[in-house]
Amino acid sequence: MIISLTVNGEVRDVAVEPHYLLSDVLRDRLDLTATHVGCEQGICGACTVLVDGQPARACLLFAVQMEGHAVTTLEGGAPSVELRALRAAFHTHHAQQCGFCTPGILMTFAAYLRDHPDCDEAGVRAVLGGNLCRCTGYGPIVRAIMAASAALREVADV
């Protein structure tokens, strides 16, 4: 069957079977490989994308459910101001080592920082609990997100 969905701002028609996962369709049919698959069970969070602007596990969605919806991946067209701030802070704070879990964390917090401009560390930690990282011990990730949040507030104040 053919589904029509918006991916990174472009309308795409894709031939899929009903049991195809969104994560597989993004990666294998649309060549958008920034979305990583770590567990296919919704636990690790590496495959997190935005569906209509909200974080969602691409491995827990069937592609057919995306008919008429908008999906944003890390490749996503013009990056949001939140994503740009996160990328800069992740680099400065050495918040990724192997980088495999990173796309899911970036997508999660691009939405979180947009919706919570005044977030505190406890809030960030609570949300980050949904992403597994095996390399960093999370400390640098928390610091990077807090730094990105502070940088965004500074920009907003100007």
Binding site: E40, H94, Q97, F100, G137, I141
Partner: protein, 788 residues
């Protein structure tokens, strides 16, 4: 030399980050190969069974299925893996690429489907009909070592695959004569690496060139190639191994596993590219496990807590198959156990058992248990004798003047500052004011763990230990015609930041800017044959080889520069950020020449070269590190345990560390904190659980829990580094010691807290259930007037 080390030591953010953060990284499964077929493996649902029959007819009928193969089919194409190094007490083992008639653990390979895509391959897998005759399984290593046990590998006639004994001095005599003999037990649970990127590979056979290309996330591209050519009957020149970005490895991506070999064989057989991506359940069930070890120490002590003699008894569960010599992991625990303590009379006995469980291999700090066992033993001694644990450590610790010290395990300890790291840690954690106590809701404890981390193993270590193999590393540096520097080494990264840190090393070695150094890794054709990434060898072996090679590049460039300047010697010339300068007191003066000028001469105007100098600028250099380099550290933490729930909280955690010269503090800090986090995760949460029939009860991330952000406390890292006297740049290595220290520090803190109620734990992980039971057993015993 004085102008060197300008970039080594700088906390430079990583150049790798751009592609990772932009979503442009290329992990194995991101790489497209036109026409590639997809493989899926059918695995045994039983812990131990005879394969009676396999019927693949229905699978082959499914549209899109290309072939289905069994162990019998592949046996024609692939020779068995025999692990039989000449090590006393080690029994040789052998295994085919896939089992032919018997599966030995749940998750063992039964058949492989190759199809147009993975969805079809998995559907076909469900159509394969296998008749099994279930056999009794043994999933406990102590049971496996009993005479009446089921045999995991019938060819061995025993499950005792390795038994190793070592003696220095006469520990038994010391134990017999000692005023006190104190025993302590330690049981570390089975764990697994769980990189967030599972295993996977793409194999392509070029029938015209008769050449195999394997794309695979690997720590060791060249040794992996050696394995492949041996098993497939090819020559080294017929195989290329390419390791792209790797989503974590932690020791899991070293061995050539059976799945990967089967994919290579199938690509050759079919003449078409074949790819395989492991799913998470396969990874937890059947990739590689680690760490399941039991230890008992017996210490002969005097009344002051001084250890007069020590023995270690160790049992390790190696699972169903040996991908490594079975003594390899536990032996290092035996060798380094005594660490920074002066114990002349020491012995160990190691027994390694086969069981009907997944095979095991090294996991980040495979020798991690050593620190917990030694430091836990010291704590037990202190508690039994009513002494201060830090004081017992001081009384046994080698004085700085005693270094270098030949440890009773045979290796030489030097360039460590163990007293300094411990005293600093005691100050920082507030040791003097601490007493274990109970405020009615919580039990409070403090734990110490001194760590001597064996980081880099030279060839002499492998020779001495009988393990076999080489510890050398190889570097190649090319100054390209435009003056940029291309550097390579036989290591492969999985997040360690080599592209950044090795560029800093090469920049200083040659005298150029890091931005002018490209570091390319992970391809067996373009990197020199090296031993790859494992242990803590990256900086010392890889960085050391590159630095030595870079020094040769510099000397060559300076000779060429001198000739261009009309000089007959290089005296007074230097290389700074790619420019040839006159080195003057208090500064330097430009000569007007730079590396690009010299490169143009070397490549395009060879007649302008000094006499005897050949055209081109390619350099190759190997380096064999000392037998063993050591870093050291002290971990200290304060914890509290809720009496009602057994919940453990880490209130403060710090590491005082000496890893030698630091190439990039940002990267090193990241590695050290990451290692502590992995150690804490293993100590608190992770547990591979099998039932008695050999069924794995922990093959999802919901069951095999690894630490989330909520589980890892802030980690304070305090540097007290001193350089190594025996390596280039004074490098030592790191990234495993954090695991070692975390286990011991937390376990010791927990036992300090539990001592308030007369309880102790000897088994990991330290889950709330285990701690709750220990607290209430302790209280119960106290109520009955028994001793803890």
């Amino acid at each position: 030399m004085s102008e060197r080390e300008a970039y080594v030591g700088q906390p430079r953010p990583r150049r790798e980050d751009h592609r990772l953060l932009a979503g442009l990284a290329r992990y194995v499964d991101d790489i497209k190969v036109a026409g590639a077929l997809h493989a899926a493996f059918l695995r045994s649902p039983h812990g131990h069974a005879r394969i009676v029959s396999i019927d693949v007819t229905a699978a082959l009928e499914l549209l899109g299925v290309v072939t289905v193969v069994t162990g019998e089919d592949l046996a024609e194409d692939v020779t068995d893996l025999t692990v039989a190094p000449p090590i006393e007490g080690l029994r040789p083992t052998s295994m085919p690429v896939m089992p032919v008639d018997r599966v030995r653990f749940q998750g063992d390979l039964v058949a492989c489907v190759v199809a147009a895509d993975r969805y079809v391959a998995e559907e076909a897998m469900e159509r394969i009909v296998v008749e099994y005759a279930e056999l009794p399984a043994v999933s406990d290593m102590f049971a496996a070592l009993r005479d009446d046990s089921v045999l995991v590998d019938e060819a061995l006639g025993t499950n005792l695959v390795a038994r190793r004994v070592h003696r220095a001095g006469d520990p038994e005599a010391r134990l017999a004569a000692a005023p006190r003999v104190i025993e302590a037990e330690f049981h570390q649970q089975r764990q697994t690496h769980a990189p967030i990127e599972t295993r996977g590979c793409i194999a392509q056979w070029d029938p015209g060139r008769e050449h195999l290309t394997l794309v695979i996330g690997s720590q060791v591209p060249h040794p992996l190639r050696t394995q492949i050519v041996r098993r497939l009957g090819l020559r080294d020149s017929q195989v290329s191994v390419s390791s792209p970005d790797v989503g974590g490895s932690f020791g899991q991506k070293i061995a050539l596993y059976r799945e990967e070999l089967a994919i290579c064989a199938l690509a050759r057989r079919l003449g078409r590219p074949v790819r395989w991506k492991e799913d998470r359940m396969e990874n937890l069930l059947a990739a590689c496990h680690a760490r399941e070890q039991w230890c008992r120490t017996r210490a002969a002590v005097d009344d002051t807590g001084r250890i007069l003699g020590l023995t270690l008894e160790m049992v390790e569960d190696f699972g169903a198959y040996c991908f490594y010599p079975a003594n390899y992991i536990s032996e290092v625990v035996g060798i380094i156990l005594t660490g920074q303590y002066g114990i002349a009379d020491y012995g160990y006995e190691i027994r390694v058992a086969l069981t009907n469980k997944c095979g095991v291999g090294p996991m980040r700090a495979p020798m991690a248990m050593a620190s917990w066992v030694m430091e836990g033993t010291l704590d037990v001694i202190a508690r039994r004798l009513g002494l201060d644990p830090a004081e017992v450590r001081r009384r046994n610790m080698l004085a700085d003047q005693a270094l270098p010290y030949v440890m009773p395990g045979g290796e030489t300890l030097l360039d460590v500052n163990c007293a300094e790291t411990m005293e600093t840690a005691l100050d920082e954690i507030g040791y003097a004011a601490h007493r274990p106590h109970d405020d009615g809701r919580y039990l409070y404890g403090l734990g110490l763990c001194n760590v001597v981390e064996s980081t880099t193993y030279g060839s002499r270590f492998y020779k001495n230990s009988g393990i076999g193999g080489s510890g050398h590393e190889a570097a190649r540096i090319i100054v390209e015609p435009d003056g940029t520097v291309s550097a390579s080494v036989g290591m492969a990264a999985a997040g360690q930041g080599y592209e950044t840190t090795f560029a800093q090393v090469v920049a200083d070695g040659v005298g150029v800017r890091p931005d002018d150094v490209a570091v390319t890794l992970g391809h067996s054709d373009t990197s020199p044959y090296g031993m790859g990434s494992r242990g803590g060898r990256g900086a010392t072996a890889g960085g050391g080889a590159l630095y030595l090679c870079a020094a040769e590049v510099r000397a060559h460039l300076l000779r060429l520069a001198a000739h261009r300047l009309g000089l007959n010697a290089t005296d007074g010339l230097g290389l700074r950020d790619g420019r040839i300068v006159w080195v003057r007191a208090g500064g330097s003066e430009e000569t007007g020449l730079d590396v690009a000028d010299l490169a143009r001469t070397a490549y395009f105007d060879p007649l302008a070269l000094p006499e005897g100098m050949r055209p081109g600028l390619e350099f190759y250099r190997t380096y064999d590190p000392p037998p063993m380099t050591f870093s050291n550290s002290t971990h200290a933490c304060r914890v509290r345990i809720a009496r009602e729930t057994g919940r453990l909280e880490i209130l403060d955690y710090l590491v005082v560390e000496n890893c030698g010269t630091v190439i990039n503090p940002l990267v090193v800090h990241g590695q050290q904190a990451g290692a502590v986090a992995m150690g804490l995760s293993g100590t608190l949460l992770e547990n591979v659980v099998y039932d008695q029939a050999g069924r794995n009860l922990s093959a999802t991330f919901a069951d095999y829990t690894i630490a989330t952000v909520a589980d890892i406390p802030a980690i304070r890292i305090i540097a007290r580094a001193t350089p190594s006297s025996r390596t280039p740049l004074g490098l030592k290595g790191m990234a495993e010691g954090g695991v070692m220290g975390a286990i011991g520090a937390v376990a010791n803190a927990v036992n300090d807290a539990l001592s308030v109620v007369g309880a102790q734990v000897t088994c990991l992980p330290l889950t709330p259930m285990r701690l709750h039971a220990a607290i209430h057993d302790g209280i119960g015993r106290a109520a009955q007037g028994q001793e803890g």
